[in-house]
């Protein structure tokens, strides 16, 4: 209790709110540090550094790192925050363990949110957040900024989910935390359920609201929600709890008793994930889709450009109707709704039905002759030109690089 800085999660949350609409929206990148909050004795933060931490280098437009994609943020700038006070928790009342996925050994977007959620629970109980990760992670320097007081690194079996769960269970038994949080990603959800099944404890999956007092998750096909006190084990749904944005935490290494050898090892042998071939993967899963519309007439050229960009080909309805592209390539309400990071549209004006297919696409690039096309309004980069003339230029530019 000695001089430990106190935080006000409510105020921090309020500071991240965007706009004044009826529905609250939160800006992840905006640091809480607005005029109304700072009072004496409060932590000082460096919003610039925190923003830079999330930035992906390159390009004229700043882009904040988001998780999942291999290759994204591969060269993230290791921008160490200027030495500000590092917050230490020496004598925690309890432990809250976060078990992030750590794809490629780094915290991804959801991992940071899990740590943020763990922080919420730990702060309410004067506890400490323990990041439980695999030994030999190359780049966990941002565990402290992300909110970890402790760093418990154990040798997690990468290729056997059974063994991995056994090790995590052993580590948890050693730590006896009050709460354990997992990301509700494919790997995190799998691990959490294995741990829950093995320990026989209840698991609250896909939590969407988490405060110190309650956790809420959807149930009954998303038509109802369950409300309870924060449970011992939970998985956190993506983009529901803000990542920690307070002062850098200590991330002190914590020795955990070496876990016992799992008794049933070897039943499952998993290999490393292999990325899909963009040319053949299904449109709904594709991270990068390049699509052709009415403005494209040379489809051999279009396919070569798509191949050169290592993208998955898509098309508008008119193009599929005409038989120039297979129906499986159709993007839109009556075709496939995308979940891509980026969508590059050649010669697609953007009928409402088509734009519905871009539901969750983050970045749109449009090549179109019409400056007032709906697709241009949706795009982050628009080139007002004939797609038939731009495509050969892209193909040639890529060929020049490759050669």
């Amino acid at each position: 209790m000695t001089g430990r800085p106190r935080r006000d999660p409510r105020a921090e949350r309020a500071a991240r709110q965007v706009g004044a609409g009826a529905r609250p929206r939160f800006d992840l990148a905006q640091p809480p540090g607005g005029a109304g909050i700072g009072s004496s004795g409060r932590l000082r933060r460096d919003p610039r550094a925190e923003h830079a931490r999330l930035l992906v280098p390159g390009g004229d437009r700043p882009r904040l790192a988001r998780g999942g994609g291999a290759g994204i943020g591969a060269a993230r700038a290791a921008a160490p925050a200027p030495a500000v006070r590092v917050v230490r928790v020496d004598d925690p009342a309890c432990l809250v363990v976060a078990v992030p996925d750590l794809p490629d050994g780094r915290l991804d977007r959801l991992d940071r949110q899990v740590l943020g959620a763990a922080r919420v629970l730990a702060d309410a109980a004067s506890g400490a957040v323990v990041l439980l990760g695999g030994a030999g992670m190359p780049d966990l320097g941002d565990a402290g900024p992300a909110g970890a007081d402790r760093l418990a690194l154990v040798d997690l079996a990468a290729d056997d989910p059974d063994a991995r769960a056994a090790i995590v269970c052993a580590a948890l038994a050693a730590l006896s935390p009050r709460h354990v949080l997992f990301p509700d990603s494919d790997d995190g959800a799998d691990l959490a359920r294995r741990v829950a099944a093995r320990t026989g404890r209840g698991l609250m999956t896909g939590v969407e609201v988490l405060t110190a007092r309650q956790a809420i998750r959807p149930c009954r096909a998303g038509r109802c929600e369950q409300v309870s006190a924060p449970p011992a084990l939970l998985t956190l749904a993506a983009d529901r709890v803000a990542p920690y944005a307070g002062a850098v935490r200590e991330a002190r290494p914590l020795a955990v008793d070496p876990p016992p050898a799992p008794p049933m090892a070897g039943r499952i042998r998993a290999s490393a994930p292999r990325a899909a071939d963009p040319a053949t993967m299904t449109l709904a899963e594709a991270p990068f889709v390049v699509a052709a519309g009415n403005g494209v007439t040379d489809f051999a050229l279009f396919r070569s450009v798509v191949a050169g960009l290592h993208a998955t080909p898509g098309a508008s309805r008119v193009v599929c109707d005409a038989g120039s592209m297979p129906r499986a390539a159709q993007v839109g309400a009556s075709g496939t709704v995308l979940d891509a990071v980026c969508y590059l549209a050649f010669g697609i004006a953007g009928a409402p039905q088509h734009l519905q297919g871009l539901g969750r696409v983050e970045h749109v690039v449009a090549v179109n002759t019409d400056l007032h096309a709906a697709m241009v309004a949706r795009a982050g980069l628009s080139v007002i030109a004939d797609a038939q003339r731009v495509m050969p230029a892209i193909r040639d530019a890529l060929a020049a690089e490759g050669g």
Binding site: D186, R193, R194, L309, V367, I384, G402
Partner: protein, 258 residues
């Protein structure tokens, strides 16, 4: 010639998320398709009384559905008990249990297949998109299953697991069987006593209420609302701008030489 694998498909009485009407769960339909692709003999297994919606699963290719009356009190014990009882197949014990990713209409936690696997003492592999029997089996050795797990962004991970095992099926599994009304009509829904002994576990009391849609956190967008617009550039400039932009987004790998 290997004999057909004996597979159990776990079925839930789902509801449709849009309409709230009783409806089969998509991943459980795919589980039926996966078992079919393996050429397995199938029995559907449901912990609870026979419900009309189970007939719809039959339409996707399950001729025989066993309902464990009273099993809803402790589904894990009821299902595991039935699977181990030997009552499901006359030819031998169950070799494979297939389940959807998560049910739709109950707690929807996705925990049940794991708990059943734990109870059976069998390995569990989740998020499976494709399965086939591993080739080159030793005579007498327990056969293996080659699985392909779906990972985000279309990635796949191969996994090999020894039978008997529990397999959770992912939404992207392409093996959706055809719905045949004549099969649904002809299916046999057998009610079996669930054979639970001892009191059911005490369910945790969680308050339940109507779902409230809440905003998701948004990723911080780039500065400014509108995008960059290049009007009538030279094709080479346009190509360069697009390539650079794609590289900045991280969707296009950097040039081979660099």
């Amino acid at each position: 010639m290997a004999t057909a694998m004996r597979a159990v498909v776990l079925l839930s009485a789902g509801i449709d998320p849009v309409s709230g009407r009783p409806a089969p769960v998509g991943t459980e339909i795919r589980a039926i398709g996966l078992a079919r692709a393996l050429g397995a003999r199938m029995v559907g297994l449901h912990a609870g009384p026979p419900a009309p919606v189970l007939r719809e699963y039959a339409g996707y290719g399950l001729a025989d559905i066993v309902c464990l009356d009273g099993g809803e009190a402790d589904p894990v014990a009821a299902l595991a008990g039935a699977i181990l009882s030997g009552a499901l197949f006359a030819e031998g014990p169950v070799e494979l249990v297939l389940a959807g990713r998560r049910a739709s209409g109950g707690a929807d936690s996705g925990l049940l297949p794991y708990a059943v696997a734990e109870r059976l003492g069998w390995p569990m592999v989740a998020d499976v998109a494709q399965a086939q029997r591993a080739g080159a089996q030793q005579a007498g050795a327990s056969p293996d299953l080659d699985l392909e797990q779906a990972r985000p962004r279309g990635a796949r991970r191969a996994a090999r697991v020894a039978l008997p095992c529990v397999v959770g099926v992912h939404d992207v599994a392409a093996c959706v069987p055809d719905f045949v009304f004549a099969q649904a009509r002809a299916a046999c829904l057998r009610a079996l006593p669930c054979g639970l002994d001892g009191p059911p576990p005490v369910a945790e009391a969680a308050e339940e209420r109507a779902y409230r849609r809440r905003p998701r956190l948004i990723a911080a967008a780039a500065q400014g609302t509108g995008g960059r617009v290049l009007v009538d550039p030279a094709p080479q400039d346009a190509a360069r701008a697009i390539i650079d932009h794609l590289r900045a987004l991280g969707v296009l790998p950097p040039p081979a030489g660099s």
